[in-house]
């Protein structure tokens, strides 16, 4: 399934594993006793730079972990990614630290192409099956997603922007609208969807554009959805979109 495809996709790229990660794996697998490896994780955890509280946001949170984990990535001037992370579990934090050390300084492409199976070489005797308590895999996938977003920076939009600005950039580029209004209605859905409390899930978009000329409503909506596809759940955070699509002559 998901994992299998990840592996296939990444198989060719495994030679390009970032050097720091290679070094860490070598160092870990040289430790003879699993308990010492876990001890090593604890040391890593202690040395991890704390991620400041302002970045403990829903956007940065790694979903589906029993412990709480946040990961943040920023694109550096040299085109590589710098990661930061935090967790309330020491061992998870240690794994996060290992990934931060191993992947920071690599290019988005190298990170995205990484095969998660290197985890097995660490000798931590843990599983790689996708599962809600697989902290390691969920962290890595989150970091890969961040890297992918950063890598697409030129083509798409800056992944660190709030969702409403992402929507605006994407729609302006595609439809050159004569009028564009974007309302974030997420808060009104927080009652039944707590993740909406932070915004970014429910939007009302009113757009007027000549490019809709000759299209019926269904086709106009489809065109908008196509442009925003990457921002919709599950890839993005948009859960619901309420659309008004008009031409200047409507």
């Amino acid at each position: 399934g998901a994992l299998l495809r990840l592996r296939t996709q990444a198989a060719q790229a495994s030679t390009s594993m970032p050097a720091p990660l290679k070094g860490l794996i070598a160092a870990f697998s040289a430790v003879p006793d699993p308990m010492l490896r876990y001890k090593q994780l604890l040391h890593f955890a202690e040395k991890l730079e704390p991620l400041s509280a302002e970045h403990h946001t829903p956007e940065n949170k790694v979903e589906g972990c029993v412990s709480q984990v946040w990961v943040r990535g920023t694109l550096q001037g040299d085109g590589t990614v710098a990661f930061e992370a935090e967790s309330d579990s020491q061992l998870t934090k240690g794994l996060a630290a290992l990934l931060v050390r191993g992947l920071s300084g690599a290019t988005p492409d190298a990170i995205t192409a990484l095969d998660p199976s290197f985890f097995e070489d660490l000798g931590l005797q843990q599983s790689l099956t996708p599962s809600r308590n697989n902290g390691f895999l969920n962290m890595l996938l989150k970091m890969q997603k961040i890297a992918q977003g950063l890598g697409e920076g030129g083509e798409g939009v800056d992944p660190n922007l709030p969702m409403s600005q992402k929507i605006e950039q994407l729609l302006r580029k595609e439809f050159e609208p004569s009028s564009l209004e974007i309302h974030d209605d997420s808060a009104s859905h927080a009652g039944h969807r707590p993740e909406s409390a932070g915004g970014g899930t429910h939007f009302r978009v009113e757009i007027v554009s000549e490019s809709f000329e000759g299209m019926n409503t269904i086709k106009r909506h489809k065109a908008v959805y196509a442009v925003l596809a990457e921002q919709m759940e599950p890839a993005g955070t948009i859960h619901a979109l309420s659309l008004s699509t008009k031409t200047p002559s409507d």
């Binding site: 099956t129 308590n133 009652g191």
Partner: protein
């Protein structure tokens, strides 16, 4: 050895020797009933038997790593989770799913259909909408829509049969599809008629004539165990299967759905496993497939189903299909030739390829009487309405007897069945 075996068996017609070899894998087949009557098991459309390797995989689970899945960090739980999710991968691969996430484990195909009815259906079918079924559907593909139609006030319509072939009246179905049609739900292969429905044509008709939001559900219970199948290629939105009809244990089946359709559906049952976070005031839900799997799943049964998929894939579903096509046609012809007054329902093998089963009646005899006496001879066939009462009403009968074959049935067994059917008729007529 295992990979060589795959290679060997993945081509060429199944030989009689190979089929005899399969029987070694099914210990249950080698027994006598009523003292000295060798069992001839011809009730495979109701449930298949299970090969040793499936039983071994389940035994291994309970003797080596039984544990609750997903939430535990300890060694057994991690292994159980691995194997449970690997089973999902195997099932996904077996039906051509693009991702394991599109496969939801259920108890059986009935639950899978009800899941769709209680989630997508409850929210999307309403007054003025129409659901199109065929008259040959299994009750499990009728009753959920009937029950929902009473609650949500939509109409359920039935396509009939072409009287010449007793298979689906495709033109009639096309005529039923209108912009009001919000769901077309039909079986891939009829468990009574043996007919194979033209999925592509039905999908094309629905995509052209139905409401743009119309969904298509395929009941694949009688196809996936018997032929190569790829759900995404068939263009349907949902497909359902029962494990127990495809060499897997009881208590497991699955729903396949297009990912975007599953994503958009509300959850079905509430409970452990299907949530993201639970608060006193509200809850948030996991993504598919977890969203639809409430409570401790049928872990061992899923693993057994995965092993069954491996077993069938290694034999090669194309070869299974070819073998069944041939032995099914043989049974059909033998029955027609040797049993006077028999009526077999569905198309003849000359009209269309049909499944290796024959539902029939013999003039003047009640189907139950026929199967009861056949049973005394060791021949296990089923009688009744086979959960297709509307089809039986349509055919103007109360019941039928049905012999259904699988990959381990031999021509000798078919001969034995036909011969004992003659004796059974003699028993009643000679009265």
């Amino acid at each position: 050895a295992s990979s060589r075996q795959v290679e060997q068996s993945s081509r060429g017609t199944l030989t009689a020797e190979e089929v005899l070899g399969f029987r070694d894998e099914f210990p249950i087949l080698d027994q006598s009933v009523y003292g000295d009557k060798p069992l001839v098991y011809l009730d495979n459309a109701a449930t298949s038997q299970k090969p040793r390797r499936v039983l071994r995989a389940m035994e291994e689970y309970y003797e080596e790593y039984n544990s609750n899945v997903h939430r535990g960090v300890h060694a057994l739980s991690a292994k159980a989770t691995d194997r449970y999710e690997q089973a999902r991968d195997k099932v996904a691969a077996f039906v051509g799913a693009g991702s394991s996430r599109d496969v939801v484990f259920t108890r059986n195909a009935s639950e899978a259909i009800n899941l769709v009815a209680y989630t997508w259906g409850l929210d999307n079918l309403g007054e003025g909408d129409e659901v199109v079924l065929t008259v040959a559907e299994h009750h499990s593909n009728i009753v959920p829509w009937q029950m929902l139609s009473q609650r949500n006030k939509f109409d359920v319509k039935f396509a009939g049969l072409d009287p010449k072939t007793q298979s689906l009246d495709l033109d009639g179905l096309r005529n039923l599809i209108t912009p009001k049609t919000k769901l077309v739900s039909f079986g891939h292969v009829s468990n009574v008629l043996g007919s194979v429905n033209p999925v592509e044509e039905i999908v094309a008709a629905a995509r052209q004539g139905a409401h743009p939001d119309c969904k298509i559900l395929l009941d694949a219970c009688q196809s996936v165990p018997h032929m190569p199948t790829s759900f995404p290629d068939l263009g349907v939105d949902f497909a359902v299967c029962s494990g127990h009809k495809m060499c897997a244990p009881t208590g497991i089946g699955f729903l396949w759905g297009k990912p975007e359709v599953l994503e958009a559906m509300p959850p079905f049952m509430g409970g452990g496993e299907m949530i993201q976070d639970v608060y006193q005031t509200h809850s948030t839900f996991a993504k598919p497939p977890g969203k639809f799997e409430a409570g401790t799943p049928a872990i061992c049964e899923a693993i057994g189903l995965g092993e069954a998929c491996d077993y069938l894939a290694e034999i090669g579903m194309g070869r299974v299909e070819e073998f069944e096509h041939e032995i099914g046609a043989y049974m059909y012809r033998e029955l027609v030739e040797k049993i006077e007054g028999i009526e077999i329902y569905g198309p003849s093998p000359d009209q269309a390829p049909r499944a290796a089963l024959a539902a029939f009646n013999v003039e003047g005899l009640h189907a139950t009487d026929v199967s009861m006496i056949l049973d005394q001879y060791g021949i296990a066939v089923r009688s009744g309405h086979h959960c297709t009462q509307p089809l039986h009403q349509y055919l103007g009968i109360n019941a039928s007897a049905r012999a259904s074959l699988y990959l381990y049935n031999t021509k000798e067994e078919v001969d034995q069945f036909v011969s004992k059917l003659s004796e059974t008729i003699e028993f009643f007529r000679g009265g």
